[in-house]
Point group: C2
Chain length 194, copies 2
DNA sequence: AGCAGTCCATACGTTAGAGTATGGAAAATG
DNA sequence: CATTTTCCATACTCTAACGTATGGACTGCT
């Protein structure tokens, strides 16, 4: 194991992780139903034979890819939101995170288009729970009552999901444009009073 | 044409409109990719032979079905929103419409999951434009400035789309429940000041 | 050198669904 | 009544994609 020449680009043999990574890229670009074994293999310069050595079947690849994405996203959420003390700044940061981490958000956006998929559905539930819970506790810290904070968290997350949907429809302003910034300011002022 | 026994349920032969209607039901229930000729035919108690007499191909069925839905939805929007003078009541009515017209909204929700589909994309664009334009003009009547109203309309429609997404994930309260009503009240108070 | 395990290529079997070709029954029409 | 038109069933072809079976090359170990 661990041969001396295991540098990323020099490695000639693939790992399961490589397949998962490419699957996630495929999900972000073309959706989960585009994760086809043979087309992925072509894209990676190999054939199906490689895939079926690393995975028993297609579902397994999807399962592992989604788990990998979820872990990455969870760590990401903790790192970018857990460290900020001021709850208002934490909510601001939640919105602005949409600008960075493009791959992660594109994966989520694609997964939202497959909410009925048996492997995607529970994942989306967990992600939504985690994020809304973060948002809700921030609102509670600001001073809202329990049920108020709950509703406002749902509205906040809905606005986020709706923005992703509008982006999929090419009807949301691109990131880092002045229109995007202006809209973000409006959202923050409307949803985060004070 | 128009034989005497053309009553809806007595008619033994199908029309193109029947196929479009069943296609829309299929879209609402299982998404647009589930609109398969043979499965639809089985569901309607006939075979493919019938379909390919009424339509040249599958794309044509989808095109006609979507056009039919769009017309119905547009008329619906005019009827339920155009007749209300008070802009605040008009916005309230926009949200509450989610409770009724279940088929129409389920179709839209399913279509949002196929925003990358070449036949769905332009439709979603037109629908969003129409609805946001209605919402924006209501905000302008209330007294918001141009750009403010524009942003607020986008936020409002995003909240609506996000709610549909959460419903697809089984994470939004069911209609006609007290939780749904409470959430709606919160949304209205937050997005429609005064 | 020789053996075993690792990784991949190739060829095949199988299924779902789109679309075509054709025949047949029933209704409308002359 | 005869014929044409309408509407649908049946039987094919074709393609994409999953999964399997098997052989071969390369690598590390003894």
């Amino acid at each position: 194991m661990v041969p001396s020449a295991m540098r990323k680009k020099e490695r000639s043999t693939l790992s399961a992780g490589d397949w998962e990574q490419h699957a996630l890229i495929m999900i972000a670009e073309c959706g989960i139903r585009a994760v086809a074994v043979e087309s992925l293999a072509r894209r990676m310069g190999v054939t199906k034979g490689s895939f079926y050595w690393h995975f028993p079947n297609r579902d397994s690849l999807i399962e592992q890819s989604l788990l990998r994405w979820e872990k990455h996203d969870e760590a990401n959420l903790q790192a970018s939101l857990g460290a900020i003390d001021n709850p208002r700044e934490r909510l601001r940061s939640f919105f602005l995170r949409t600008s960075r981490e493009k791959l992660t958000h594109n994966v989520l956006s694609s997964l939202c288009s497959a909410a009925d998929h048996p492997q995607v559905e529970p994942l989306l539930e967990r992600v939504a729970e985690r994020r809304m819970s973060h948002i809700k506790s921030a609102y509670i810290e600001i001073g809202f009552a329990e049920s108020e904070a709950s509703h406002r968290a749902r509205l906040t997350y809905s606005a986020y999901l709706g923005f992703l949907q509008l982006r999929r429809q090419h009807q949301a302003p691109g990131f880092s444009t002045e229109e995007f910034e202006a809209y973000m300011m409006h959202v923050i002022e409307t949803l985060i009073p004070g």
